[in-house]
């Protein structure tokens, strides 16, 4: 029964954007998300050995989520990439993901002792039986 779900508060913190990286799904808290952009690979510049994009007057560094997960490079080179533009305080970041699945109300759960043993995730949530890690955007802003 869904009665218990209706009662939870609807603060922005409990909504997340679900993104796919290869076979894994991650949940990015909506409160950190500014926009989603589809960027042509040709528009990626390099500044200080880092990939960046120039968007609406801002230089936004890119973080490749597949590198974060230590996954192999995407098999086929595509002409466009999906970038989730995030913000923490006044720093911008572009997360490069494979797919986007829309937004969901998520129930962020603690990972027990793993909460203090990892850098980038503040918890996990269950989507349709599979586990999606909840990204902590602040931690990516090195």
């Amino acid at each position: 029964m869904e009665l218990s779900q209706i009662v939870t508060d609807n603060m922005k913190n409990s909504q997340a954007l679900i993104a796919g990286v290869r076979d894994e799904k991650i949940a990015i808290p909506l409160s950190s998300v500014l926009s989603i952009e589809n960027v042509a690979v040709s528009e990626i510049n390099t500044v200080n050995f880092e990939d960046v994009i120039y968007l609406r007057g801002q230089v936004i560094p890119l973080v490749y989520m597949d590198k974060l997960f230590n996954l192999e490079e995407a098999k086929k080179e595509s002409l466009n990439i999906n970038v989730v533009i995030c913000m923490y305080k006044d720093t911008y970041l572009g997360l490069v993901v494979d797919e986007l699945f829309g937004q969901e109300d998520i129930d962020k759960k603690s990972m027990g002792i793993l909460d203090n043993e990892n850098r980038f995730f503040s918890g996990a949530t269950i989507l349709d039986d599979a586990v999606a890690l909840v990204l902590d955007v602040e931690s990516l802003i090195a």
Partner: protein
Amino acid sequence: MSELAVYNANENESKYIIFKINKEVYAIDVKSVNNIIQMPKITQVPSSPKYYRGVINLRGEIIPVMSLRRRMNYDDDCFTSNSRIIILNIGEDNLLGIVVDEVNEVLDISSKDIEQPSQFIKNDASVVSGVGKIGDMIISILSVDSMIGERKAS
């Protein structure tokens, strides 16, 4: 027949779950064991120590899973149909799963049969808190504290 009435009162005996990792025999106090399950899908958590394989979803709960093989610097886990995850109680409300190659039986081991591991062998990677001798078998006793103990080096 009269043995049926004998209740082995104390002798500081506890029941231990006996399992194997890498063909070696280990034991853990049943009081620490919450559950034993077959291998589910494990979701990796990047940037966590290598000996954590990730987390699993167990009836709606997120439980971290550790590989004792990695923790003890052995070769990596080799999953078979006998592999299991033993879910342990940590402190008040936490749980931790450990990957084991097979779960065998429950044995009573009394504390007089358990010795401290040799000082020379015990090091940071050691999760063994005692060594028991049952018949011809040498059984390494694990304790939950020794598993999540010091990790300063990593």
